[in-house]
């Protein structure tokens, strides 16, 4: 038979255990970002371009009939050059490399920027074929971000290239 003191001791320890579990199950609060901050997520997954060459009729003639593709394209994809400027200041510069053992996979980037909510000038420049100079995709826009808003910078060739959402 348990003594009253032992019962009280057990109750105290069980309640302390529950209090410990209950407190750390939700507390202390965690602040991921300050109240007046918004996020820009730069996330691009894109196959770099490649330099294709048109085969001459003589070359095609030498190939078996079932392999006479008119274009001769290398397997490897180009690196992709990417620049992001925010409010006229360089925010991010990178060269994305193709994935895969033969460098024939997509090039990807994922980057998160925290910035004060409000109006910002965002410029994104991308070149997916480094054989050619300059940038073949440019997106420039004045965006207004609310606190805690997440804006995504993405790329989709079917949607005209770079876009914000």
């Amino acid at each position: 038979m348990l003594k009253p003191a032992a019962i009280i001791g057990q109750v105290i320890l069980y309640v302390a255990f529950a209090a410990f579990i209950g407190y750390f199950a939700t507390s202390p609060k965690y602040r991921q970002i300050p109240d007046d901050v918004s996020l820009i997520k730069l996330s691009i997954s894109h196959l770099g371009d490649r330099e294709c060459r048109k085969r001459t009729p003589e070359e095609l003639q030498k190939l078996p009939p079932n392999m006479r593709a008119p274009m001769d394209c290398p397997r490897e994809r180009s690196d992709i050059n990417l620049e992001v400027d925010i409010d006229g200041q360089p925010a991010f510069r990178t060269v994305m490399h193709p994935t895969g053992l033969y460098k024939d996979g997509v090039s990807t980037v994922y980057k998160r920027f925290e910035l004060k909510a409000g109006s910002h000038q965002v410029v994104v420049r991308m070149n997916d074929n480094l054989v050619k100079p300059g940038f073949n995709f440019v997106k420039e826009e004045q965006v207004t971000l609310k606190p805690a808003q997440v804006m995504v910078i993405d790329f989709n060739p079917d949607k005209g290239g770079l876009f914000f959402r």
Partner: protein, 523 residues
Amino acid sequence: MSFHGFARSNTQVLFQRIEEAFDVPFGGANNPLRHLGAMGLYLLWIVVGTGLYLYTVLDISITGVYDSIGYQSLELWYFGGIMRSLHRYASDAFVLVMVLHLIREWAYGRYFGFRFYSWITGVPLIWLVYASGIGGYWIVWDQVAQFSATATTELLDWLPIFSEPAARNFLAPDSINDRFFTMLVFIHIGIPLLLILGLWAHVHRISMVDYLPSRQSMLGTASVLVLLALVKPALSAPPANLALAPAELRLDWFILFIHPLTDISSPAIVWTLLFAVTVLLTILPFLPHAKAEPVALVDVAYCSGCSRCHLDCPYAAITMGPHPIRSGFKVAVVDPDLCASCGICAGSCPSSTPFRRQEQLLTGIDMPQQTVNGLRQHLEDALAKLEGRSRIVIFSCDRGADAGALAAPDTAVMSLMCTGILPPSFVEYALRGGADGVMLTGCRSGGCDFRFGDRWTAERIAGQREPRLRSKVPLARLQLVSASSNDGKVLAKALQEFRTRIETQSVSDAPLPPYFRRTSHHA
């Protein structure tokens, strides 16, 4: 002493002190700190049971998961809400118990030698627990889920395992669909199943596993968790919206602590830390340790195949195999990799009785470092030297309170590897050899280093387990004392009281007839 040894011994002292403080209100059998493994399994069954209920009421769609679980918490708070809260709080308690179990086993040095397998199989379980716990938080698809999903995938993306960033799956509200939750539920059921399979492997080399703690512990734990569920029910945060980043969150720090840790450091640091801890835990058993004690040896000529050692071995190190000579008979076979060198098997062997008249007492199973013959010889020598009004023999466990200081002309101290090595017939042998009383000291209840040494001894003395102490032995002349290494004073006090009892109270039981092995017992 190395830093590791220093840290371990100090942690052990701390743990032992806290455990012994918990013994005061709980007692050994109900002390949760002494049964952390069983407590963990019990909490896991609560998680599994409540999880099955939540699965049946979960509507697997983007808005459905949030609404269906929210309905349980808000509308069916008296049942569904409690089930949900129990699911969460039992998970948190499981994590807490798991961490304590890990630290305790390390502190007590229970991770190398014959315990190597249990330790190594426990390491991957930690990963499974966290994978399961983190995934579980995603299912509700509230702001905490959104934060955890994004943070986890960003952390995973640091590893070169995905061709595309996994975090792209949580970029915008239209990035996910209903099928995501189907997959999530599938994973959240699959990983715990793997966990249960892993737990089976974890305890595979232990016999008579405590799958559940005592009834009182279960009742107390369940009651307090239900109380917590009523006082502070588990609720969802506002629904997830990938177009917004929640600024302030109420995180479950037991399971989701890794996300803030990543935020204040970096994915590289967190992965380095995680892999470093995993590697450290894995290589820990391979670090230099004290040389293993010799294992139990079977003497086929004296093994009757009775299976008592097989039944009593706490680590399933003994199996019964065919006798090499006598067909149809069995003989004990010791697996050296599993043997803990505790000697409990020698104490269980019916051939270990000291009353046998052979000069060289050979028994069926014996410990080379403390043979039954050596024990008898030591006892006979000690009995011959005893003098005084009340001559007491103390059989003391090396792992419990140090009885050496109590040795005196009227008190002989016999040191044992574990109390369980002592066949009960030694008690009678000591009393019939001239002792007025016998004191048996072992670890505190639930604190035996070899799991069952104290329990088997108590049951053998009480006549509840073979080999039994003969009923004609007067129990008034026998004293069992549970005393840990910190209980030296308790032991001294118990001896004093025992001596006083023998000297002042006339022990009514008729004294046992003397027995001297070397003289004819018919004389």
